[in-house]
Amino acid sequence: MSRTAAGWRGNAARLGLMAVPVAFFAVFFAYPVAAIVARGLKAEGTWQLGRIGEVLAQSDVRQVLWFTTWQALASTALTLLIALPGAYVFARFEFPGKQVLRAVVTVPFVLPTVVVGTAFMALVGRGGLLDELWGLRLDTTVWAILLAHVFFNYAVVVRTVGGLWAQLDPRQEEAARVLGASRFAAWRTVTLPALAPAVAAAALMVFLFTFTSFGVVQILGGPTFSTLEVEIYRQTSEIFDLSTAAVLTMIQFVAVGAILALHAWTVRRRETALRLVDASVTARRPRGAGQWALLGGVVATVGVLLLLPLAVLVERSFAGAGLGYYRALTRGDGGVFLVPPIEAVGNSLQYAVAATAIAVVIGGLASVALTRRDAGRLVRGFDALLMLPLGVSAVTVGFGFLIALDEPPLDLRASWILVPLAQALVGVPFVVRTMLPVLRAVDVRLREAAAVLGASPWRAWREVDLPMVRRALLIAAGFAFAVSLGEFGATVFIARPENPTLPVAVARLLGRPGDLNYGQAMALSTILMIVCAVALLVLERLRTDRTGEF
């Protein structure tokens, strides 16, 4: 009797909910990616798998692989080193301005990679702040890239690790203390093992983001440093060597798949058998010189590493010209663009709103379908599949859109919807990761109580789940919005020249010589940063500590 008619109905309903996201991913993700890989590796109707070996044998490709891997490892290690004390401070200390600081550290994460690259350029590049002050330039070294990656991913560690840390019962450590363990020994033997899965999950996320880094490396890497993603872009759009690009795409696909599988495994482990308490009761004011020094150190790190680059960016947008660069944005001089660059703001906002709507619908349906934990291997596989767009080459997706969606019945080449569709792909994973934990946290017995009182499953969902996840839904929408706004890798291929988005416009301006173009890039980046930061600060007011994994 384990498989009753009702049980089958439940499964059928879940499969129905999953159908829309599955179709979306098949058409707008799997198909374009497959199409471009086929284009690269198929000649005269047969697969040229020998190309894989040939490409891998090239020494410059091997060098790119090596650099991609080691810079990702180094970035991850550096991020953990710098951000873990921050996670502790946010989890355990109560201090004035904590809410604001928490929002501040999250701003970089939603900033477009192009802005981050530009900001670091203004800080450590030629004619940058450090150059002016001490003649110090880092843009020819890997340090610029590493620091930019720390800047970006600081929030990932603070949120993922700090979120769990705040919910660990401090009395676990106290229990160790009264059994004779020193403060450090108690942390090492009790807290660290409990945190380990969260640290691993955060590290893997950081590794994933830095392994596939595009905008940052594109701007800061110069001719010397190139990640897989940058190389894919170069091969596709500059050298037109599609077969090499296809092989690189596949390599990245396999690597990302492996990272995501590891991540899913650690997240599942994290869900087991920890005693969690309400995060609001575990923080207290720092006591003693050591704790105040730690807090001071974290605040100083945030100031130097996170705020300074942004401040320099803003300063450069005004430097020497007052509002001149901003005014220049409103003129169409026919140079870089066909239209005044400021129109990119309107384009970006429209695209981002459309992309957010798509991502919320697709991600929301997927989350509801995945709510039940015990839902078997197939569903778990689907869960992992939803994360793939986070890591699969955005460049490939963008180019795939161009060549795959250009003939009936899906001729979208001329349609504006192409851009939001590509951006929504990146937004969906954020929606799912924000919604799913909240949906899963809704006590099953509440639904059962509703059912006993005569509510149909749909009605129970509407009256029990929905009110509880409304905030999470808003937060998910905000994340999707910010991510869409900053999406660069795919958009750079498919945005039409007369309708550039903000990141695309910034990158194009940066690619041109001259103070005016540079200044305009800074001004446009500042605008983009402010839009993202405002979106985030609105979110921060909604956020509770229990929502989401990002």
Partner: protein
Amino acid sequence: MLLSLRAATVRFGGRPVLDAVDLEVAEHEIVCVLGPSGSGKSTLLRAVAGLQPLDSGRVVLDGRDRTDVPAHRRGVGLMFQDHQLFPQRDVGGNVAFGLRTRGASRSEQAERVGELLELVGLPGAAGRAVAALSGGEQQRVALARALAPSPRLLMLDEPLGQLDRSLRERLVVELRELFGRLGTTVLAVTHDQGEAFALADRVVVMRDGRIAQSGTPLQVWQRPADAFVARFLGFENVVEATVGDAVAVTPWGKVPAPRDAPQGTRTLLVRPAGVRLVPADTGLRCTVAARTFRGTHVAVRLQPEDAPGLEAACALRSAPEVGDEVGVEFDADEIAVLG
């Protein structure tokens, strides 16, 4: 004295949670601190353990001032209210934790873990996962973990709080027997008077961060220090009375008072057993408002015409029905003048 707390004071945001508490615990003594939630009893334990710094006062253990010694060097044991077993370690790993911090060798650890699990009635459980234990088993593992390093003073925070009633009643007997056998000095806190009376050599009642009464279970039960303690112990028949020689004037009329009682305006307690039911035409006339079956007796709630309600304990057979009219007489042996 093994433990002396001297004028221990802890304030949370200016409000005293422990207010100049003096407390002494002798070697081999079992002391139970009893009080409602918020009375400061858990803070008391945390202060002794070194987990809660004192705002003023001293903690003296075994004649040495330990006020400024950090928790891990105080050498006291503490069993937490919800056990706080380490979920990432198995039963053996939990019990051995305190031994490992003291640098015991592996073989010593294994031997002692086996010994303690035997002692708490879970032989051979060392390899089990903590999450797989029932509430009662977790209780025993937590006890074994706290006992393993042989602390001079063992403290228990609501030791049986989360267990069901029958298990609690059995465990409290086991615990008392075990502590007696090991000669452990114990300081426990609980809000459950039954638990406190069954476990303790001495009971300390706390109220708002201060000690309201201290004495043997019998002393506290027979003569609560004031109206608060009496009501906390579950006594309802507590009133202001004018006590004279062998007689006291109360809202219920004149009742007999103990001969040696202090005279004047006092608080008077009539235990339910001292409220005797007689035919309606003699004594204080009352209506039966409610009756509650209590297993060994029936608690009867009586309402006199114009006086506070009275609680009486009746034998099962002779308990009146709700609405019956009865008379009440008072028994001098069950009347105490407080304070």
